[in-house]
């Protein structure tokens, strides 16, 4: 009989079916009216009770849960682990606990076999057989019931475990499903690695990032292998490293994540990679496509650079305007002064000359009467005439000097704003040379100098302020001629004063050099030569304005450079460097 039950247990897939069939089968072995089953509930403090079999139609089947282990016969059996076998419950009622099952309480059950259900050292419940009359169960019946209970206990436990496992599996599956759905719904690429750096899970967004290497992205793949695949397809720029070095470097960054880093793929996409170690030793990675952000960043940087460039241009243009204004007003000032002085100067010179002539006429008229005077008086008279004529000559001389200073000043000034044009630079330089030469000769008819011109043909046209450049060249050449001439005067006939004018192009810059073999400029003077009103010429010969104005014209007005090189007693060379085109300013637009 018991072996039948065992077979039944082995073949059952369903515990309910098993319980029903087993209890029915065992009823063949010994007779009972009612069989109830108590099973402990999770928590271990309570049990559930139900009727497995009831022969009497007027007795209700019981089904209850959450019964305290302190209550009922079943409760005692479970708690104590001791069988409760009663021949006649009616007789021993006071010793027994209050039954929970009403069928036991109403006195209709007299014979009772209550057995604990054991499973692997635990008590998982109790089974109770009862009959309506007393002394129904024999010792054989009890033995049978015991064997039955033993097998049933194990079977129930096994089924329960399987059930729990299945439930746990189901729950786990559902939880995993929820997790995957959540990961999938994340808009960034998401990936999780375990403590051995194998990928546990990732979403499609992450897989997509791998493009052609996507099939390597499967759970279990090593991070390093994924990186190797990516590097091999040329998806990422390797920055000059070979594949192995790049992979090694990437793995190091990956294993020691410190915030996020940015990767630029070959196809122009920018990815922000944020990796973090999590508690169990694994690594979580979030990959965000920041291409748009990057593009905007680049645009902003470009705009900022353009704005800064524009600002600098504007500032330079402003400086040039201010400079031009200054030049204009200074020019007008000196022009005004010069013109004002010219008139009285003319009178000085003219009257001096006239007076000299008139005196000459007077001397002629008085020639005879003077001869008729006594010696002393005659000497006096002649002396007076001579002195007065000398004085007048001196007045004339100084008047002419003042006149040449005024002319000099007028050269350094003009009326009206100078115009920005394109002009042939060599032509301007040549004209300046000629003007300077003729000017020097006008002042001193004995002036002579050797002039060497090397004007490069590719200099061509230059965007500039031609009148002002003319002034600069005139100034430099005049100075050079003066210096060479001075050395000639000092050293005498053995020395041949020479001046050279050279123009050449150097990239987008034009260089003009004025070199003389004159007295040279000592180092301490060289520092000061561009300072306004500084001059080494004797009083009355120079205004000291020339070089400082030239400097301002070259540097501020044309954005160029003016440098000097000199060896005292040997040579001086001034070099003007200006750009071929002036930087754009307001009127031209961007």
């Amino acid at each position: 009989m018991i072996s039948d039950v065992v077979l039944l247990i082995a073949r059952s897939t369903d515990i309910e079916q098993l319980l029903l069939e087993a209890v029915n089968r065992i009823k063949w072995a010994f007779d009972f009216n009612r069989c109830t089953l108590a099973l402990t509930e999770s928590g271990g403090e309570t049990y559930a009770l139900r009727t497995l079999l009831e022969t009497r139609r007027d007795h209700e089947k019981v089904k209850k849960t959450g019964i305290s282990l302190d209550a009922g016969l079943h409760g005692r059996v479970i708690r104590t682990g001791q069988p409760c076998i009663e021949v006649d419950v009616a007789a021993t009622a006071e010793k027994l606990p209050e039954p929970v099952d009403p069928a036991l309480a109403d006195g209709s059950s007299r014979s009772v076999i209550g057995l604990p259900l054991h499973a692997y050292g635990r008590i998982i419940g109790a089974i109770l057989f009862s009959a309506t009359r007393a002394n129904v169960f024999s010792d054989e019946d009890v033995k049978l019931a015991l064997q039955f209970a033993t097998h049933l206990g194990l079977a129930i436990d096994r089924f329960r475990q399987v059930d729990e496992l299945r439930t746990a599996e189901r729950k786990a599956k559902a939880a995993r499903r929820r997790l995957y759905d959540a990961i999938e719904s994340v808009s960034e690429g998401f990936v999780l690695y375990d403590h051995e750096d194998r990928m546990i899970v990732c979403n499609s967004r992450f897989r997509e990032l791998f493009h052609d290497s996507a099939d390597i992205v499967e759970p279990g793949v090593l991070f390093e292998d994924m990186m190797r695949a990516v590097a091999s397809t040329g998806m990422v720029p390797l920055g000059g490293l070979n594949i192995d070095d790049w992979v090694a470097k990437r793995v190091i960054t990956h294993k020691n994540p410190a915030g996020s880093h940015v990767l630029r793929l070959e196809n122009g996409t920018w990815i922000n990679i944020s990796e973090k170690r999590i508690d169990n030793g694994g690594i979580v990675g979030v990959y965000t496509d920041i291409t748009e952000l990057k593009e905007r960043e680049v645009e902003i940087t470009r705009a900022k650079d353009a704005a800064e460039g524009a600002l600098t241009d504007l500032q330079k243009a402003q400086e040039r305007l201010v400079q031009a204004e200054k030049m204009a007003s200074l020019g007008q000032l000196t022009a005004g002064i010069a013109h004002e002085i010219k008139n009285p100067l003319n009178f000085v010179n003219n009257f001096a000359k006239l007076s000299d002539e008139l005196l000459g006429e007077l001397a002629e008229i008085l020639e005879e009467p003077i001869k008729a005077l006594d010696d002393e008086a005659r000497d006096d008279a002649e002396d007076l005439f001579r002195t007065i004529r000398q004085n007048l000559t001196k007045i004339n001389e100084h008047g002419r000097r003042a006149d040449s200073i005024v002319k000099n000043m007028l050269l350094h000034s003009r009326e009206g704003p100078s115009e920005r044009q394109t002009a042939n630079l060599n032509a301007i330089a040549e004209e300046a040379l000629n003007l300077a030469y003729h000017g020097a000769r006008a002042e001193n008819p004995n002036f002579s100098i050797e002039m060497v011109k090397s004007l490069a043909e590719d200099v061509g046209v230059v965007e500039c302020f031609p009148q002002d450049l003319m002034r600069v060249f005139l100034n430099l050449i005049t100075n050079g001629m003066y210096a060479a001439h001075k050395r000639g005067v000092e050293e005498g006939d053995g020395f041949a004063p020479a001046i050279s004018l050279t123009t050449r192009t150097s990239g987008d810059q034009i260089e003009i050099e004025v070199r003389d073999n004159g007295t040279g400029i000592p180092a301490d003077v060289r520092e000061k030569i561009f300072v306004p009103f500084f001059t080494t010429k004797p009083a009355g010969e120079g205004t000291g304005l020339g070089l400082s104005l030239s400097y301002d014209i070259v540097v501020k007005q044309h954005g160029g450079e003016l440098t000097v090189e000199s060896e005292p007693g040997e040579f001086t060379a001034f070099r003007v460097t200006i750009p071929r085109t002036l930087p754009a300013s307001g009127g031209k637009g961007q």
């Binding site: 010219k342 008139n343 003319n346 009178f347 010179n349 009257f351 006239l354 008139l358």
Partner: protein, 129 residues
């Protein structure tokens, strides 16, 4: 025949300068000089002479009130036979062109080259009247 020349200049010393430079010619009776200190005064002198005795006007350009250019225009309009020479400290091309367009016979810059002036005068007036 003495040619009568009218000199117009706001600088009083200009008179002396011219008188001294032309002392010989004046003594010989080649020229006589009248002086006006402004364009307006010059016009008065000319208007006062009916018919005009002045044959040539030497005028400065930069004067307060009526400028030499304006005077030139007036003279050429009213007395087309009177020759006008402009004398000026400002020797720029634009002014010269303007003066000649308006009918100035000659254009001189200060300081005046009297030798040249005398040549020009004798060329223009020499065989007149």
């Amino acid at each position: 025949m003495t040619a009568r020349i009218l000199m117009v200049d706001d600088e009083p010393d200009a008179q002396d300068l011219f008188r001294q430079n032309f002392r010989r010619e004046i003594r010989k009776g080649v020229y006589t000089f009248d002086f006006s200190m402004s364009g307006a005064a010059a016009l008065e002198v000319l208007k006062g002479q009916k018919p005009p005795e002045v044959v040539l006007v030497l005028s400065d350009i930069n004067m307060p009130g009526m400028s030499g250019i304006e005077l030139l225009a007036e003279i050429r309009k009213a007395w087309p036979d009177v020759v006008v020479f402009m004398i000026t400290a400002y020797g720029d091309n634009a002014t010269e062109v303007k003066a000649r367009d308006l009918g100035a016979e000659q254009f001189l810059t200060k300081p005046v080259d009297f030798g040249r002036l005398k040549e020009d005068l004798s060329r223009v007036l020499g065989d007149n009247k």
